[in-house]
């Protein structure tokens, strides 16, 4: 049974926010990626909300998924009607309470919301990178984020929170920078992309690359491969839903008349809905970014890459406490994959909590206002802020009590 509440109106908005940028890795100090290729200069777009406390112990890093960006919460202007993508979770008095926590989110490398990606200008050629942009991994994304935190002077993160590919980043962070990560909440995520997900990813990439407008990625300044990208989004969007939610929302309802048209234009509401999703997406996303980011997530296998083939060994390197959350109807990153993660964390002796939320909205559930998810995240964060104070000595304990 779904227990969805409406949009969370309980807390006020974080208000007007601003997107900042940081540029680093200027040649000849480029960042060497896992592939061995170099990337630089790198610009990261990021946003922060709330205030970093004196001991810099209340930093919560949020990670966006495939098509997200640094705009987690709040609005850019007074007249801006579209708040950030997780405004129902992040804000004053919300699950991630910006009155208590300093929230950071950066747009990942390779994306198209202000961070360096394939649509950015390659300084060497003066033209957009296109396919000359190097392939990167989740670990590369994380390494760039580390540079941002160094810049912000944050040496310890109270918690990392991310859904889907965002959850992968949280896991990678916990393994790669164990001394910096006090806790992590991977939501609807996995420690290893499954064959099913890779297959679906590839189908989406092929849809883009089959569009004649794609031109081997060299389409900037011309007509972009909108049909291909829209089709990729349609496939992707289906994987974020569930049979039950689609059945409830659309069933076999027809578009206009209660009769078949007997041609290949959309008859069913579900068809026109998906076309609409595809059209909306091409207005805001770059096709090459889609290729690169899906590839980065396909490469992700934490046990193989960080534990010499053993996920237990990978988690043995972490110091973090974990809260793993899955959704019962998520078939893209099913509960079994979260449980596999939890099992390895337990074997590695990590402090881990796990909850599967019973909900039929599929993988996308993590983005929707959901009371259970909010309670889990806020309860866990509250506990972490008390425990980080204790581990930091007596002075810290007073702060925890003052909270």
């Amino acid at each position: 049974m779904s227990e969805y509440s409406g949009h969370n109106e309980s807390g006020a908005s974080v208000g007007i926010v601003r997107r900042e940028t940081l540029t680093f890795a200027e040649p000849p100090e480029e960042m060497t990626l896992e592939s061995g290729q170099k990337l630089g200069p790198i610009t990261l777009a990021y946003e922060t909300y709330g205030t970093l406390d004196r001991e810099a112990r209340n930093a919560v890093m949020v990670f966006h998924a495939l098509s997200g960006n640094s705009h987690v919460a709040g609005c850019y202007t007074e007249s801006d009607e579209k708040p950030g993508w997780w405004d129902n979770m992040v804000g004053p008095g919300k699950g991630i309470d910006t009155d208590r926590y300093f929230v950071i989110c950066s747009n990942i490398i390779g994306s198209c919301y202000g961070s360096t990606g394939p649509a950015s200008r390659n300084l060497r050629t003066g033209k957009p990178y296109g396919l000359s942009f190097p392939l990167f991994t989740i670990a590369d994304i994380v390494r760039a984020q580390k540079r941002l935190l160094d810049h912000l002077g944050i040496r310890r993160l109270l918690c990392l929170v991310g859904g889907s590919i965002g959850g992968m980043q949280a896991l990678e962070w916990a393994v790669d920078y164990p001394e910096m990560v006090f806790s992590a909440i991977p939501v609807a995520s996995t420690a290893k992309r499954s064959a099913l997900s890779i297959g679906l990813s590839e189908a989406q990439r092929q849809a883009i690359m089959a569009d004649p407008n794609w031109r081997n990625g060299d389409y900037y300044g011309q007509d972009p491969p909108s049909k291909g990208l829209a089709l990729a989004r349609i496939i992707g969007h289906i994987t974020y839903l569930s049979e039950a939610s689609m059945e409830r929302k659309f069933g076999r309802k027809l578009r206009e008349n209660a009769a078949f048209k007997f041609d290949f234009s959309p008859d069913f509401q579900v068809e026109s809905y998906l076309h609409h999703q595809g059209r909306k997406f091409v207005e805001r996303f770059d096709a090459n970014s889609y290729l690169y980011i899906t590839k980065a997530s396909d490469y992700f296998d934490l046990g193989e890459q960080r534990g010499e083939g053993s996920l237990v060994q990978a988690f043995s390197r972490t110091r973090a406490k974990f809260l793993v959350i899955s959704f019962s109807s998520d078939w893209l990153y099913p509960t079994a994959q979260s449980k596999e993660m939890v099992s390895a964390m337990k074997k590695a002796g990590r402090d881990v909590s796990f909850c599967e939320i019973e909900v039929d909205f599929g993988h996308d559930s993590f983005l929707l206002a959901h009371e259970q998810l909010t309670r889990l995240v806020s309860g866990f964060l509250n506990r972490m802020s008390q425990e980080i104070a204790v581990t930091s000595g007596a002075a810290g304990t007073e702060v925890a009590h003052a909270l």
Binding site: K339, S343, K346, F354, C355, R375, L376, S378, Q386
Partner: protein, 201 residues
């Protein structure tokens, strides 16, 4: 907190590691964490209770207690607790052996099917007894077995499990007060609470 949980808490030494199997919303763990500074860990299958427990600041893994014990290393807890769940588990022997593998000690509590009221009901009515502690009819009970005080003692003795403490209590169902039954537990125990170990020391 429920009286039987108060008794269980009294058996737990401070600053230890405790695993509560079937921890519900974590009342016992919360108490132990606050009063005895234990490092507590819970396993619970019900989503609502798991969320309540995590919200309170406890470490809880949602899952089946028959499965969730497997990932823990030998002796990784000082105590593994199974309170009022033994009558519902499918393979109690395996669960208890698992508890004593991952815990240096185990604490097991269950409603005793040997209380005077049970004996009299069966004797006089020839019907399956229904009590405050086991309030179900035969056709709707979640309890798949009944256990008596002596049954459990005999099981321990046959399996080389050492009983360190045994406490019989009489309390109303879910009540916060009750009393310890010091004489004739075979007649007057409503619940039995056992602290057991496999360690020879």
């Amino acid at each position: 907190m429920r009286f039987d949980l108060q008794i269980i808490a009294s058996l737990v030494a401070p600053h230890t590691r405790v695993l509560d199997l079937g921890c519900g919303r974590g009342d016992l763990l919360e108490f132990l964490k606050g009063e005895k500074r234990v490092e507590g860990y819970g396993v619970e299958i019900d989503e609502k209770e798991v969320i309540e427990g995590i919200e309170k600041g406890l470490s809880i893994v949602q899952g089946d207690l028959n499965i969730e014990t497997r990932d823990f290393a030998d002796g990784s807890f000082d105590y593994a607790i199974l309170s009022q769940t033994l009558q519902q588990v499918y393979d109690p022997e395996r669960v208890i052996q698992e508890m004593l593998r991952i815990g240096k000690m185990g604490i097991v509590s269950f409603p005793c099917f040997n209380h005077l009221a049970v004996k009299l009901q069966l004797f006089f009515t020839s019907r399956a007894p229904v009590t405050e502690e086991l309030p179900y009819e035969w056709y709707n009970t979640p309890n798949i077995r009944v256990i008596t005080w002596d049954d459990f003692r005999e099981f321990c003795s046959a399996r080389g499990i050492k009983i360190l403490r045994q406490i019989a209590i009489a309390t109303h169902h879910r009540a916060e007060s009750g009393r310890i039954v010091r004489r004739l537990p075979d007649w007057f125990a409503k619940y039995g609470i056992f602290l057991v170990t496999k360690n020879s020391t």
